[in-house]
Each structure stands twice: as structure tokens, then as C-alpha cells.
């Protein structure tokens, strides 16, 4: 009995699979080599990932070690700078290089963790909303509208003030408050796919709703889902930095680039390096993520227009 469902039926997804361009690692790799910006993004992201993983090997100072004697030392190439603290030190005498290296960990963990959380919520709500429609859809979408009427950063700020700082809470707060764009994308994909012939065919041979959603609809929304996830990592990294800048993100001894910027802002008149380097780190990381995300969209979702056509 179970075997009959697996047979290729004309017009079902199996048949459409055969007409699709080849996928798999080799294909993706080929596409990455062709795209200059995609390669650039991949190199940048890989670099940040390696720095984050190899943090203890790359630094000789504890990023949280306070040393009042070494306050606000300039970078090595300026007068008064030493090779020991080659990017200088901050207002508490902590090594800037170590803090930037360890900050990469927080940035990546929060950036990806929060996207996974909102991705899961968005996928579930979007599938339910798009598939079942009617009042379920209306309720989810109106709640989404209300969420969108409050600026996301404000929402996160208020929740963080209530639950308190920390990496895990930050991941969940950013993830939970940012669910609306994910839900909307998944829902609109489901709306178009559930009317396709292969879904009707599967339903007509007796497939239950759960099977329709998981076996027939979910695999077909996967590429646009990955695309929206990829495009949101950069935004999430900036959100983490913004919250930490406002003093409501992570708490010491964890290091956040946004928190470093908030220290640096107060010393910008005398010690420019404290505010400059963490900002550069954020910009390069987000730039890499954006380029990689754009490339991913071009490869997985060819319907949308490419940035450079």
C-alpha cells in the first residue's frame, strides 16, 4: 500500500523534479566560482567564521581582562602604541584585538541563532496560515500587522528590558519578535503552491493534510525559505549590535561589537580607535553576509531579478 504513493504520477513533484536544473554541492560550487560578489561574500564570511572558531589561538590577552595602567593605548603604528596591543586598548585597558576576535563569536551565534528561531516560527505559522486559510489565516496575519506597527528594534528593546540581558535571551527575543517577514514569505509561497496540480492530485488520491504539507508543500518552499533566512542574517547581526549599543544586549564578560561601540562613543574625541575598529568589523561581516545572501537568492530562486543583470 505504501509503495503506491511513491510512484511517479504525471504532474506531481517527482516529474517536475526531473525537469529542474541539476542541484547538489558540485552545482552550487560551480555557481559560486562564476559569481564574483558571491565568492567575495563567501570569503569574508569564511574568514569571520574561522576567526570566531580560532579565537583562543589568535589572541594572547583575555578579552575581559581590565588593566587600568594600559588605558586607551593607541594602535601599534601610532606614537605610544605597542606591538603587544596592536589595535590599541579601550577605556578600561582591555585589548581591542582580543575583544574584536571574541566579538565575532557573539555576532555569528546571535545572528544565526535568531534567524533559526524566527525561521522555525515563520515556517510553522506560514504553513498553517497559507494552507488552512480562513479565520486561522486572518488571525495570524492581523497579529502580524500589529507586530509590524511597532518598530522591531523598539519591541526587542522593551522585551530585553523586562527579561534582562544575555546571549540566550537575546537569541530568543530577536528570533521571536522578528517572525513576521518569515511568516509572510512562507505563507505567500504556500498560497501559490497549494493550488498546483500535483497537490490537488495528491489530495484526490487520499493524502491527508499533514502529508500534503510535509511531503508536497514543504519541499517546494524550501529554496525561498533558505533565501529569506540568508537575507536576514545580516539584519539580525545589526540588531544584536544595536541592542548591545543601547545597553540591553549581552552582558559582560561576553563581548559584543555593539557594546564596544557604545564605550567608544564616549571617547571618540580623544581615542578614535575604540569606536572605529568594532564598526569596521560589523560592516565587513554584514557585507559578506549580504553578498552571500544575494548570491544564494540568484542560485536558488531564479525568478527574482539579480542585482547585476
Amino acid at each position: 500500500m505504501t509503495g503506491s504513493n511513491e510512484m511517479p504520477i504525471p504532474g506531481t513533484e517527482q516529474e517536475q523534479d526531473n525537469g529542474r536544473a541539476p542541484t547538489g554541492f558540485r552545482y552550487i560550487w560551480q555557481q559560486l566560482i562564476i559569481s564574483k560578489t558571491g565568492m567575495f561574500g563567501a570569503v569574508l564570511v569564511l574568514l569571520v567564521v574561522l576567526i570566531a572558531i580560532g579565537a583562543p589561538l589568535l589572541t594572547s590577552h583575555d578579552p575581559a581582562a581590565v588593566n587600568p595602567l594600559n588605558r586607551l593605548k593607541p594602535p601599534a603604528w601610532l606614537e605610544g602604541g605597542t606591538a603587544e596591543y596592536w589595535l590599541g586598548t579601550d577605556n578600561l585597558g582591555r585589548d581591542m584585538w582580543s575583544r574584536i576576535v571574541y566579538g565575532a563569536r557573539v555576532s555569528l551565534i546571535v545572528g544565526m541563532g535568531a534567524v533559526i528561531v524566527s525561521g522555525i516560527i515563520g515556517a510553522i505559522l506560514g504553513l498553517v496560515s497559507g494552507f488552512y486559510g480562513k479565520w486561522v489565516d486572518a488571525v495570524i496575519m492581523r497579529v502580524g500587522d500589529a507586530f509590524m506597527a511597532i518598530p522591531t528594534i523598539l519591541f526587542m528593546l522593551v522585551v530585553m528590558a523586562i527579561v534582562g540581558p544575555g546571549i540566550t535571551t537575546l537569541i530568543f527575543v530577536i528570533g521571536v519578535t522578528n517572525w513576521v517577514p518569515f511568516t509572510r514569505v512562507v505563507r505567500s509561497e504556500v498560497l501559490s503552491i497549494k493550488e498546483r496540480d500535483f497537490v490537488h492530485a495528491a489530495r484526490s488520491i487520499g493524502a491527508k493534510n499533514g502529508r500534503l504539507i510535509l511531503k508536497h508543500i514543504l519541499p517546494n518552499i524550501l529554496s525561498s525559505f533558505i533565501v529569506i533566512c540568508g537575507m536576514n542574517v545580516g539584519t539580525t547581526i545589526i540588531m544584536e549590535a544595536s541592542l548591545s549599543f543601547l545597553g540591553l544586549g549581552i552582558k559582560p564578560p561576553d563581548v559584543s561589537w555593539g557594546g564596544m561601540l557604545s564605550d567608544g562613543r564616549q571617547y571618540v574625541a580623544t581615542s578614535w580607535w575604540v569606536a572605529t575598529f568594532p564598526g569596521l568589523a560589523i560592516t565587513f561581516t554584514v557585507l559578506g553576509v549580504i553578498f552571500l545572501g544575494d548570491w544564494l537568492r540568484d542560485v536558488l530562486d531564479p525568478r527574482t531579478e539579480t542585482t547585476q543583470k
Binding site: V158, R265, V268, A269
Partner: protein, 305 residues
């Protein structure tokens, strides 16, 4: 048309109702308002008195009905930090934020319109590539960092513009530019793709073949139509512009609603937080509906139902 506007206005009600529910849940259910409002040295007796005074010993739905009732009358309670009605404080700060947001919008349009149009007209050239590069970098830079860098350059090194505060035009330039850049980056990309689509339309070809000049066609025929989708998406961007004021106002110590809110959140002044979130939500929803109406007026192809 009147019927359509009325229908749109009625949509505000359910959205604001859910917003009120979100605010209520945020402040009353997830946190302990008594602990947030009292100093850490408060005794158990103080706590009991405040709990009763706030009506927190009553069931949640009674509390919500009371909350909604006073919110509808504009009463969000007193700010314990300023000892003034919260709504009054929030409304006092609105003009400063409005001034900043309008100036930022102005900067964004000033940058994005020429850049977007040029990159569409000169598509796939070196100029286009440079403009795309600038807009991607504008998107990748956190705006608070750019604000700090602008302070470093123009206030510390060159000494031509003030570091912070609100005053004349010179105080407005840096914060407005900072807030406008992120918006400009997104608008540039939008205007480019919208213009590209229109430049391929038949009526553009007709206009060119009539012998009209290139500039006339670009400005009068293409740009006017290219602007329509941009206007809609800009209204959606309005929410993130307000979100951006939270950070930009903190960087430049701009005395607006955003700064008031950040301080209120940090000091757990929940009356202000409630009032501010509510006021912001009302502004966002009303703006979205107004742009929707304006958009339909601009584009006669859209029906009113």
C-alpha cells in the same frame, strides 16, 4: 472613494486592539511591574500597597479592560521619573523626532533619486556598479557607527558641526544624514529596479521615437511612473525610520521621542514605555493607511474595493 477611506480607517481598530494586547502582555504579564517600579530596598508592605493600588491583585482580564479603558482616554499613568502624565511627556517630544525624521527623509530622497535614476539609465556600466556598491555598503553599515564616524570627522577633526543636541540647522545635519543613509540605500535599489522596468515599456519607446529628448523622456515619462511603487514601499520603511530614531537620537543626544524611550526602558519607567509604544503604533498605522489612499489617488488603474 469616501467609502474606501472609511473602510481603511476602520481597519485601524483591530490592529490597535492587538497592539494594546501586546503592550499589556509585555508590561503586565512577562514582568513584575511592582518590582520594576519600586526600588530594591522596598519592604513587603510597600509591595502589597502598590500591588493593590495598581489593581494587580485582580484577575488579568479585569486588569486588561481597565488598562484599555484608560488607554482610550489617553491615560497611561504617571511617569515616576518625571512625575508627569506619560502621554504628555511623549507628545512633548514628538516635534523634535518629527523634525529629525522629515530631514532624514529629505536627505534620503536627495541622495536616492539621482543615484537610482542614473544607475538605471546607465545600467551595467561602471557607474552603475559603483552606485550599487555604495548602496550595499550603506546597507551593511550600522547607522549608529556611521553617526559616531561622522562625529569623529566633522566635529572632532574638522570642528565644523556640533557633536550633539538640538539647535539650529547645523545641529540637524549629522543626525538627519545618519538616519537618512540606510533609507537612501534601500530607495536607490528600488528606484533603480522600478525605473528599469519602466524604461522597457512601449510608451517610452514611442516617446523616444517621436523625437523627444532623452532627458525629457527620462524625467517626464519614466520617472513620474517609476515613483509610484517607491512611494508605497517608503511608507513601509517609515516604521524602520522610527526605529532608527531610537538609535540615532541616542548617538547624537537628540531630545526626541526615541531618546526618551531608550532612557525610559533603561530606567524601567513603564508608563512612558506604554504610552510611547502606543503613540508610535498609531502613527505607523495611520501613515500606512494615508499612503495607501494617496497611492490609489495617484494611480487611477487601481480600483477602490
Amino acid at each position: 472613494m469616501g467609502k474606501y477611506v472609511l473602510k481603511s480607517l476602520l481597519q485601524i481598530i483591530p490592529v490597535l486592539f492587538i497592539v494594546s494586547l501586546i503592550v499589556f502582555i509585555l508590561v503586565r504579564v512577562t514582568g513584575d511591574p511592582v518590582a520594576l517600579m519600586l526600588p530594591e530596598t522596598a519592604t513587603a508592605e510597600d509591595r502589597a500597597v502598590l500591588t493593590q493600588a495598581l489593581g494587580l491583585d485582580q484577575p488579568l482580564y479585569t486588569q486588561y479592560v481597565k488598562f484599555l479603558g484608560s488607554a482610550l482616554q489617553g491615560d497611561f499613568g504617571q511617569s515616576f521619573r518625571y512625575n508627569q502624565p506619560a502621554l504628555e511627556l511623549v507628545l512633548e517630544r514628538l516635534p523634535a523626532s518629527f523634525e529629525l525624521a522629515v530631514a532624514a527623509m529629505f536627505f534620503a530622497v536627495l541622495m536616492a533619486v539621482p543615484l537610482g535614476v542614473i544607475s538605471a539609465v546607465k545600467r551595467n556600466t561602471f557607474t552603475d556598479l559603483i552606485i550599487s556598491g555604495i548602496s550595499v555598503i550603506g546597507k551593511a553599515m550600522p547607522n549608529f557607527w556611521m553617526g559616531i564616524m561622522l562625529i569623529l570627522l566633522f566635529s572632532v577633526m574638522l570642528g565644523v558641526l556640533p557633536v550633539s543636541g538640538r539647535g539650529g540647522l547645523s545641529h540637524l545635519i549629522l543626525p538627519a544624514f545618519t538616519l537618512g543613509v540606510g533609507l537612501a540605500a534601500q530607495m536607490t535599489r528600488l528606484i533603480r529596479s522600478s525605473m528599469l522596468e519602466i524604461l522597457n515599456q512601449d510608451y517610452i519607446r514611442t516617446a523616444r521615437s517621436k523625437g523627444l529628448g532623452r532627458m525629457v523622456v527620462i524625467v517626464k515619462h519614466a520617472f513620474r511612473n517609476g515613483l509610484i511603487p517607491v512611494v508605497t514601499i517608503m511608507s513601509l520603511q517609515f516604521t524602520s525610520l522610527i526605529g532608527g530614531t531610537l538609535i540615532t537620537e541616542t548617538v547624537f543626544s537628540w531630545p526626541g521621542l526615541g531618546q526618551l524611550l531608550v532612557v525610559a526602558v533603561n530606567t524601567h519607567d513603564m508608563a512612558i514605555v506604554q504610552a510611547a509604544v502606543f503613540v508610535i503604533a498609531v502613527i505607523v498605522v495611520v501613515t500606512n493607511i494615508l499612503t495607501d489612499v494617496a497611492y490609489r489617488l495617484l494611480d487611477p488603474r487601481i480600483k477602490y474595493d
